[in-house]
C-alpha cells in the first residue's frame, strides 16, 4: 500500500514537471513529455494513481497529452525514453528472450503487461516509474536479446536502448536454468562498461544450476542477486542493490580474458580521436562515451551494421583484428563462463526445455492431430459447452437488469426518442454484445494458457516445414494463433520475424484469422439458422479463414513478397503450467478490457448508428414522422454491390459498414435495426428469421455468404491503424483492399455454391465439382512435371526425388 501511494506521488510529480515546460519549440523535450504522458494515461487506469491525477491539475494533463500527440508524429521511430530528470533514475531491464523480464517488470511496478512462455512477447520498450527508499526510479522493459549485435527488429530496439543510455543502471536478468548462455550477454554488457546489476531469476524450485551468488559476484566483479517475482523480499534486495550502486561507485568488472585478445591500442586511440572530431558523430556523441574495451569488442565482433549506423568507417579496426576474430571472441567468452560456473554453480544433468512430453508432441504421426485437437477443444469449449452455458446465464442476468430500467424510462419519458435511444442503442445493441463477455474472455483465457504452456514453440517446430513452403516461418504460428484472440495485438507480435517481407506477410494475414469480436455474429446468426448444426458452420468458418490466409501467403510469396530464406532459430522453453494467481489475473484483465471496449467505442458507435438510422436528412425523427433515414438512403446506394452475395438489404449493408469500426457493432446494429429491446440474444436470433423485420435473411445460403464476408473483410479500425504503424501506409492500403476483395469474392463463390446445393441437391453439385476437379488436377500435375524437367540443371529430366536437387 505504501509503495502504491509513493507511486501515485511519483506520477503526480511527472505530471507536475511536465506542466512546467510545455513549449512547442523543443521537440526532444516534448517527446519526453509525451512518453511520460503515455505512462500517465496507462496509470490513469490504475485507480489509485488516477485519483491523484484527477484531483491535481487534470487540465494540465490533458494539455500535455495534446502536445504529446503532436510530437509523437514528429519523433522518428526509435523510441526515446525520458532522459534523467533530477528526480528520476532510469533503470533498464535487459536479458535474453523468455527469461521473465516482463514478469519482474510487472511485479516491480505493479503493472500488468503481457507475458508469455515464448521468446519475443515484448517487442517494444515499456517504461513505468516505481519508488524505493525515497528515490524515484523509471524502469524500462526492453525486448529480449542475445548480445549487443542485433539481428531482428525487436533486438535492435533493445540494443539501441542500451547504447543510448550508456550511463544508466542495467538490471541484467538471467534465467537460472540457462545460465551459460545468459551470462554471455552479461559479459557483453560488462565489457561495454555498463553499470550492471546481475539478477538471477529463480523461476523453478529445482533449478538446473544451483548458483552461489556471492561467488559469482566475486568472479564477475559485479553485483549478483537472486530474485523471484513471487517473493517480495528478493525484489526488495534488488531495489536495495539499485540504490547502493548509486552511492558507492560499484565494483570494477573482472574480465581477465580480455588480455588474451590482442589489439593495437594505438590504432584504436587514433581512430577514436578521428571519430570524435568527425561531424557525423556529433549527434550520436553518447556512443563515444563507451570504454575502449567496447570498441575493441565491436571490432572483434565485426559488427559492420553498428558502424554503418553510426556513419563511421571502421575498416582500420577490422583490419587490426585476427581473421576469425568472431570465433575467437565467442570461444574466449564461453571458456570464461564455463570456468566461472564450474567454481560457483552446481549443475544437474537436466537439459533446459527437454521434456518426455516432446516424444508425443513432436511425434511424426501424432503432432498434427494433437494440435488440431487442442484447437478444436478450445473452440468447442468457448462456443458451445462451457461458453454457451456461461453466456446464457450472463444474458439472462443482463435482461433481468435491463427490464426494470426500460420500464422506468417508459413511465417517465413515454414512447419517444429518449426511450428508443436507451432501449435500442444502449440495452438492445450493447446488451447483445455484452452477453458474449463470458465467451470472449474464455477464448482469451485458453489462448493465454496455450501461450504460457510453452507448447507454441513445439507447434512452430512442427509447422516450419509446411509454412516454409508457403513463404512463412514457424514463428508466424504464434502471431497467427494470437490472431484468433485479437488481430490488433497479434499484428504487433509480427515484429519478431527476422525478414521484412515475412513480417509484412504475417501481419497482413493476421486479420483473416477469425478474431474474438466475430464470436457474436457466428453464434447469433449461425444459431438462428442452423441450430445444433452451427458447430459445423463455425468450424468451417475458422477453417476457411486459415485456408484463405495460407493461400494468400503462397500467392504473395510467389509474386510481390518473396521471402528470403529465413533464419529460423527458435528456443525451446520448458513446459509450464499457469499458476492460479495468473489465471485469475488473465480473466480479470480480459473482463476489464472487454468492458472498457464496450463502454467506450461500442456505445459511441451505437449511438451514432442509432442517430443515423433514426433521423432523415431533414433531421426529422423517422419513427414518428415517417420517411427514410440517412443510413437507409446511404445503405441503398451501396446495397447493389452486395446483391450478388444474397444480402442486398440496406440495413445489412449499414451493419457491415458500422462493423468497420469494430466487429461487435455488426450484431449490435442488427439488434438495433430489428428493434430488439433488451439484451436477449435469443430474441435477436428469432428476429432475423422473421420476414417482417428490417434485417432478414431469405435463405441459408445468404446467411452463410454474410458470415463468410464478415469473416474475411477488414476487421476494425484499430487493426488498420496498427497495420499502418507496423508495415507502412502502402501495404496497409493493399491489405485493406485485398481483404475487401477476397471477402467479396469468397462470399460470392460460396453463396452460389450454396444456392446450387439448395436447388440441385448436394450430391449433384459434388459430382459436378469432382468432374471439374479431376481434369484440372491432371493438367496441373502434368504441367508441374514438365516444368520440373526443364528446371533441373543437375541431371537431365529427373523425377521429384532427385537427390542432387
Amino acid at each position: 500500500m505504501l509503495i502504491k501511494k509513493k507511486n501515485a506521488a511519483a506520477t503526480a510529480e511527472i505530471e507536475m514537471s511536465v506542466a512546467t515546460d510545455v513549449s512547442i519549440e523543443n521537440c526532444d523535450k516534448k517527446c519526453e513529455v509525451c512518453l511520460k504522458n503515455k505512462n500517465c494515461e496507462a496509470d490513469l487506469r490504475n485507480k489509485n494513481i488516477g485519483v491523484v491525477l484527477k484531483n491535481k491539475n487534470f487540465a494540465n494533463f490533458k494539455k500535455c497529452k495534446k502536445i504529446g500527440k503532436k510530437c509523437e508524429k514528429n519523433a522518428k521511430k526509435p523510441q526515446k525514453i525520458a532522459k534523467n530528470d533530477e528526480n528520476f533514475l532510469e533503470v533498464l531491464l535487459v536479458g535474453n528472450p523468455n527469461t521473465g523480464k516482463t514478469t519482474i517488470f510487472n511485479s516491480l511496478t505493479c503493472s500488468d503487461e503481457h507475458v508469455g512462455n515464448w521468446h519475443g512477447v515484448t517487442v517494444e520498450n515499456k517504461q513505468k516509474p516505481f519508488v524505493f527508499d525515497g528515490q524515484n526510479f523509471m524502469l524500462v522493459d526492453t525486448p529480449g536479446l542475445y548480445s549487443l549485435c542485433p539481428l531482428s527488429f525487436e533486438e535492435e530496439v533493445a540494443a539501441n536502448t542500451i547504447f543510448e543510455h550508456s550511463g544508466c543502471k542495467i538490471i541484467n536478468l538471467c534465467d537460472q536454468n540457462n545460465l551459460k548462455r545468459n551470462l554471455y550477454l552479461t559479459l557483453c554488457l560488462l565489457e561495454s562498461g555498463a553499470n550492471v546489476v546481475v539478477a538471477v531469476n529463480e523461476i523453478d524450485k529445482e533449478p538446473i544450476y544451483k548458483v552461489d551468488c556471492k561467488k559469482l559476484s566475486a568472479g564477475l566483479g559485479a553485483e549478483v542477486i537472486a530474485i523471484d517475482a513471487e517473493r517480495k523480499s528478493t525484489l526488495v534486495s534488488l531495489k536495495k542493490a539499485l540504490c547502493k550502486k548509486q552511492n558507492s561507485k560499484g565494483k570494477t568488472p573482472r574480465l581477465p580474458y580480455l588480455e588474451k585478445l590482442p589489439f593495437d591500442k594505438e590504432i584504436l586511440k587514433k581512430w577514436l580521436f578521428e571519430a570524435k572530431n568527425s561531424k557525423k558523430t556529433q549527434k550520436k556523441a553518447h556512443f563515444l562515451n563507451f570504454s575502449e574495451n567496447f570498441w575493441i569488442m565491436k571490432a572483434y565482433e565485426k559488427d559492420k551494421k553498428f558502424f554503418e549506423n553510426l556513419g563511421l568507417d571502421a575498416q582500420i579496426l577490422f583490419d587490426a583484428v585476427p581473421k576469425d576474430s568472431v570465433q575467437i571472441l565467442a570461444k574466449v567468452r564461453y571458456d570464461f563462463i564455463e570456468k566461472l560456473l564450474s567454481s560457483c554453480a552446481q549443475r544437474t544433468d537436466k537439459v533446459y526445455g527437454k521434456s518426455p512430453l516432446d516424444k508425443i508432441f513432436l511425434n511424426k504421426f501424432l503432432a498434427f492431430p494433437i494440435f488440431l485437437c487442442v484447437l478444436a477443444a478450445i473452440f468447442y469449449l468457448t462456443f458451445f459447452s462451457l461458453g454457451g452455458f456461461l453466456s446464457d446465464l450472463f444474458s439472462g442476468a443482463l435482461s433481468a437488469l435491463c427490464n426494470p430500467i426500460t420500464n422506468f424510462l417508459r413511465v417517465h419519458f413515454g414512447e419517444g426518442f429518449v426511450t428508443d435511444l436507451f432501449e435500442n442503442a444502449i440495452f438492445g445493441g450493447i446488451g447483445t454484445v455484452l452477453a458474449f463477455l463470458p465467451q470472449v474472455v474464455l477464448l482469451f483465457f485458453f489462448l493465454s494458457i496455450l501461450e504460457d504452456s510453452g507448447y507454441l514453440s513445439r507447434v512452430a517446430f512442427i509447422f516450419e516445414d509446411i509454412l516454409g513452403r508457403i513463404g512463412l516461418s514457424g514463428k508466424s504460428v504464434y502471431t497467427l494463433l494470437m490472431g484468433f484472440g485479437c488481430s490488433t495485438t497479434a499484428i504487433m507480435t509480427a515484429r519478431n520475424m527476422d525478414d521484412r517481407n515475412a513480417k509484412i506477410k504475417t501481419a497482413m494475414l493476421c486479420p483473416y484469422m477469425s478474431c474474438s469480436a466475430k464470436i457474436p455474429i457466428y453464434t447469433i446468426l449461425g444459431g438462428a439458422f442452423f441450430g445444433a448444426k452451427n458447430i459445423f458452420v463455425i468450424f468451417g468458418l475458422y477453417f476457411l479463414g486459415v485456408f484463405v490466409a495460407l493461400c494468400l501467403s503462397k500467392i504473395l510469396d510467389k509474386s510481390v513478397l518473396k521471402s528470403k530464406k529465413q533464419s529460423f532459430i527458435l528456443e525451446f522453453p520448458p513446459y509450464r503450467a499457469s499458476s492460479p494467481k495468473r489465471l485469475a489475473k488473465i480473466v480479470w484483465k480480459n473482463v476489464k478490457e472487454f468492458l472498457l471496449r464496450v463502454g467506450s467505442i461500442m456505445i459511441c458507435v451505437n449511438i451514432i448508428v442509432f442517430l443515423l438510422s433514426n433521423f432523415s436528412f431533414s433531421f426529422a425523427y423517422v419513427p414518428k414522422s415517417g420517411g427514410t433515414s440517412m443510413l437507409q438512403q446511404f445503405g441503398k446506394i451501396l446495397a447493389p454491390i452486395f446483391a450478388p452475395l444474397g444480402f442486398g438489404n440496406w440495413a445489412v449493408v449499414s451493419a457491415l459498414l458500422a462493423g468497420l469500426v469494430a466487429k461487435e457493432v455488426v450484431v449490435s446494429s442488427i439488434a438495433m435495426f430489428n428493434g430488439v429491446e433488451t439484451s436477449a440474444t435469443k430474441l435477436l436470433a428469432q428476429s432475423v428469421l422473421l420476414p417482417t423485420s428490417v434485417v432478414f435473411f431469405a435463405s441459408k445460403a445468404s446467411v452463410i455468404s454474410f458470415l463468410v464476408f464478415c469473416l474475411l473483410y477488414t476487421p476494425c479500425l484499430a487493426s488498420i491503424a496498427m497495420l499502418r504503424a507496423e508495415i507502412g501506409g502502402k501495404w496497409t492500403i493493399i491489405s485493406v483492399c485485398l481483404q475487401l476483395a477476397v471477402g467479396w469474392l469468397s462470399a460470392f463463390v460460396i453463396y452460389n455454391i450454396c444456392l446450387a446445393v439448395e436447388v440441385f441437391g448436394a450430391w449433384a453439385v459434388a459430382k459436378v465439382a469432382l468432374g471439374a476437379l479431376v481434369p484440372l488436377l491432371a493438367v496441373w500435375v502434368l504441367a508441374r512435371k514438365i516444368a520440373r524437367k526443364k528446371l533441373c540443371q543437375h541431371c537431365n529430366g529427373c523425377t521429384r526425388n532427385c537427390k542432387k536437387r
Partner: protein, 84 residues
C-alpha cells in the same frame, strides 16, 4: 596434406547429423556474417559438443542440444556448421 585430407573426410555439417549422435563443432563454412555470429553467441563455439535431439517431418528443422539447452534451427543454416 594427408592429415588435412583425413580431417576433411571425417568432417560433415550439422545438418547431416543423425538423431542422438554427439558431435564436436569444428568451424563454420563460408564468410563470417550475422548468422555465424549468432550461432557463436548461442553457444556453437568450436570444440563444443552438440547433438540433434529431434527432426521435423521433412527434416527442414532440427532440434539441437547445445550448452545445456534446446534450440530449433533450420537445416539450411546448420549446413554452415562443420562438425566432427
Amino acid at each position: 596434406m594427408l592429415v588435412g585430407l583425413s580431417i576433411k573426410m571425417n568432417m560433415k555439417t550439422l545438418s547431416e547429423a543423425k538423431v542422438g549422435e554427439w558431435l564436436k563443432i569444428v568451424g563454420f563454412a563460408g564468410e563470417g556474417d550475422g548468422v555465424q555470429r549468432r550461432f557463436l553467441e548461442l553457444g556453437f563455439v568450436p570444440g563444443e559438443s552438440v547433438r540433434v535431439v529431434a527432426k521435423s517431418l521433412q527434416k527442414k528443422v532440427l532440434l539441437v542440444e547445445v550448452k545445456g539447452y534446446l534450440l530449433s534451427v533450420r537445416t539450411d543454416l546448420l549446413q554452415k556448421v562443420q562438425v566432427m
